[in-house]
Symmetry: C2
Subunit: 456 residues, 2 copies
């Protein structure tokens, strides 16, 4: 059997749209109309998304081959078939949305270059190819599907309790479509800076520094409890003629739900797993991607496939209820997609078996629980002591944390728990709340160097 | 990616050389000269091999496509290139050897049918194609290799401390070559009977009863401690888009070294793993193959590949020091063979990448130890607490057993340990000793129905 090798980036080559030379950047933005980016918010003002994160992920190649905000035909194609106009599969609308008022005030049109400002500094340009209007509720509904149109996996109609649905529903109605280019490279703050591995850098580290031939990706939006650690370790025994050489944790960093852990604790919690020897750093590496999670289960798993293939992973582990919230999707929706396809979403076969599809290999995993008879974190397909099993419950663990109870070692490694406490002290509360979301979306994960906008 | 399917038997089809109809069998053996099978022994009389086991494994197809005792050209080809005359790879000489005295007394020649008797009953026929002489020491040496000729993996010259070398060295010098046919099907005694799954039956159970698409084989000559159980569980996470559906334990049953566990305890110990829910019987199945272990590390791993592919496995796990004893081979010899090949043994590439090779996929595994910090059986590629690690030691465990100490749960499951105790009571000693070897090779694992030899 041929050994598995790093797959090519999705679409053939990595998108890299970051201008590093100041003089070239200045020429590009001279005299451009400007627009200060702001978060998408709920009616009560709670921030739920910041488009800067999408711009970062596009320009650094995480979403390759997507290069910018989608034109209307491409949006339609994504919603109908989950494909770009170039044929490559892609799950989500990526849109630059502004309000009618802002659009009127801006007075831009096709062919214009718009300079996007962030924290008062130039950040990126948008070369406008098309301006069109969307019905955000329609985009939201079609993005996630409906029980009628997607009966294979959609169990309940999406509604305002679903954070991803709300993100699309709260999009502004005017879309400026076109390619993004970062003209003023942001600097990540601590602790984000040491986990920032854009695809080209990540591929280089995997190849030359870590020297991993096979790498399995682990999706996270959580501080890892021992069940997560066990999922990582066990899933990673797949490979070709030996277990995967590396485990790449890729945290989704951005606005998340209240009750989720702060992003800083997520990153440092995962880092503690390798720093304290539970999975050696020679085999384990923590990274992140900027994205305001849409919790789209099978749809989100496609984005995860795109991101992690671009980062150089050969495999991707998928558990039950992957990137899910509530009961909108079948708990196995992601595994159904990756083992047989979901025709109503455009996949007659799994996404790595269709033309212009992905190359990353799924590792579909069942459940883990603590078994007092096996005296270990047991895998549901092995352990026959179902009467004795103790399920891992994220909510139960959060309850313990909220009460200030040090969780038992069998539930969470003490060194991991200490990262929660560290950031609890910083934010005065262990979980994401409105104050954290507001602060986060004001401060963001980055700072921008000062830059003048030359006159035309 | 295409899903992995059950590979074809090695050589294309399963050998099945068992005559089930009494009248046909009687016609076949009418008037044949007879020869009572007896064990190969050390000079002091200790039995170390019984050729009946090889005849069983050949006729029931475990060794497909081998059909009998090898002719001289085939023996040479196996020793030089590890290939049969039909081109298919095969690791070991399979020989029917008799002494000069027996040969003279028998007075048989090419073209004769010899009836092999066992426990006083007709058992199998050997249709003699060729009679030739071997130098047993030469065969023994070339079977296992030498540091000079096989520098990739042979570290020390083989000698009388190596049980496999001694088995070949103690072969009688006259070889009767030709196909075996079982004419009087043996009945397995308890507990062997319920673990007897010859390849055609095993494939049928896997397909229709267990409904496993992917199956990983586990080689054993041991009562499983928790480290073995963890190796099974962890290696089985390999597969294609999900972990292997089944784990097939295949115990090698036959004469083994003093200090090994009795065969009955090995089988019932592994059975306890599934019976008591550590790996559910839906995912775990215990079987055996009759073979007097040669402890040939990479060479033995090829035989394991042949046997388990014939039984319907898609994968085979290989640890360090696979089927090894002493320091004769590099501890990674088997993994070197299955990841890059060993040219001096005829493998410029791994045995599943050469023409007429195997189709089974290796899963090359590193080490497991108990880590008091991880508080689990940890994998050497994960656990960074190397100062704290506690290695699993079979000898240490045997020491505990010999002292009558109930091993801690973290070392051996109590239900598994009870199987050792059960057979300890039967044999008055927990391990293989000379008395056990003598009894075993007198009684064997089978009984033979009474059968008359009709006159010609």
């Amino acid at each position: 059997m041929p050994l598995i090798k790093t797959p090519p980036p999705h679409g053939g080559k990595l998108v890299e749209r970051v201008v590093k030379k100041r003089d070239i950047a200045e020429k590009m933005i001279a005299g451009c109309p400007t627009y200060e980016l702001k978060p998408t918010t709920l009616p009560d003002g709670t921030p739920i998304r910041h488009v800067y994160r999408e711009i970062m992920s596009v320009c650094y190649g995480f979403f390759s081959p997507v290069e910018g905000s989608m034109v209307q035909n491409e949006l339609e194609r994504v919603l109908n078939e989950r494909r770009l106009l170039s044929e490559w599969i892609f799950p989500y609308p990526i849109l630059f949305d502004i309000s009618e008022e802002d659009y009127k005030a801006l007075d831009v049109k096709e062919g214009d270059r718009l300079l996007l400002m962030l924290k008062g500094q130039p950040f990126a340009t948008l070369d406008i190819e098309e301006v069109y209007k969307i019905d955000p509720v329609d985009v939201a509904t079609r993005t996630f599907g409906t029980p009628e149109k997607n009966p294979e996996v959609v169990r309940e109609p999406f509604d305002d309790k679903h954070p991803g649905y709300v993100i699309y529903k709260m999009h502004n109605p005017i879309i400026l479509a076109g390619k993004y280019t970062i003209v003023n490279e942001p600097k990540f703050k601590e602790p984000y800076d040491r986990f920032w591995f854009p695809p080209s850098k990540c591929r280089e580290v995997i190849k030359n520094e870590k020297k991993w031939r096979t790498v399995i990706a682990h999706q996270t939006r959580n501080v890892p409890h021992v069940g997560h650690e066990m999922l990582m370790k066990c899933a990673a025994y797949t490979g070709d003629i030996e277990p995967c050489h590396g485990i790449l944790v890729n945290a989704i960093i951005g606005a998340k739900r209240r009750g989720d852990y702060p992003d800083e604790a997520i990153l440092e919690g995962h880092e503690a797993v390798n720093k304290y020897g539970y999975i050696k750093p020679e085999r384990h590496m923590v990274t992140f991607t900027l994205w305001d999670m849409r919790y789209g289960n099978p749809i989100e798993s496609l984005l995860h496939g795109v991101i992690r293939q671009n980062m150089g992973c050969t495999h991707h582990m998928f558990g039950r209820d992957h990137a899910a919230v509530g009961e909108y999707y079948d708990m196995y929706a992601t595994q159904i997609l990756w083992s047989q396809g979901i025709p109503s979403f455009g996949f007659e076969a799994p996404p790595n078996e269709v033309d212009y599809g992905l190359k990353i290999i799924p590792q579909n995993m069942a459940e883990f629980w603590y078994c007092p008879i096996c005296q270990e974190i047991a895998y549901s397909e092995n352990c026959g002591h179902t009467d004795a099993k103790q399920k891992f419950s994220g909510s139960f663990l959060r309850g313990m944390v909220a009460e200030g109870v040090f969780p038992p070692r069998v539930v969470m490694r003490p060194e991991v728990y200490k990262q929660i406490v560290k950031w609890w002290k910083v934010y005065n509360y262990p979980f994401v709340n409105r104050k954290y979301l507001e602060l986060k979306n004001k401060e963001l994960e980055i700072d921008l160097p000062a830059m003048e906008v030359p006159k035309a």
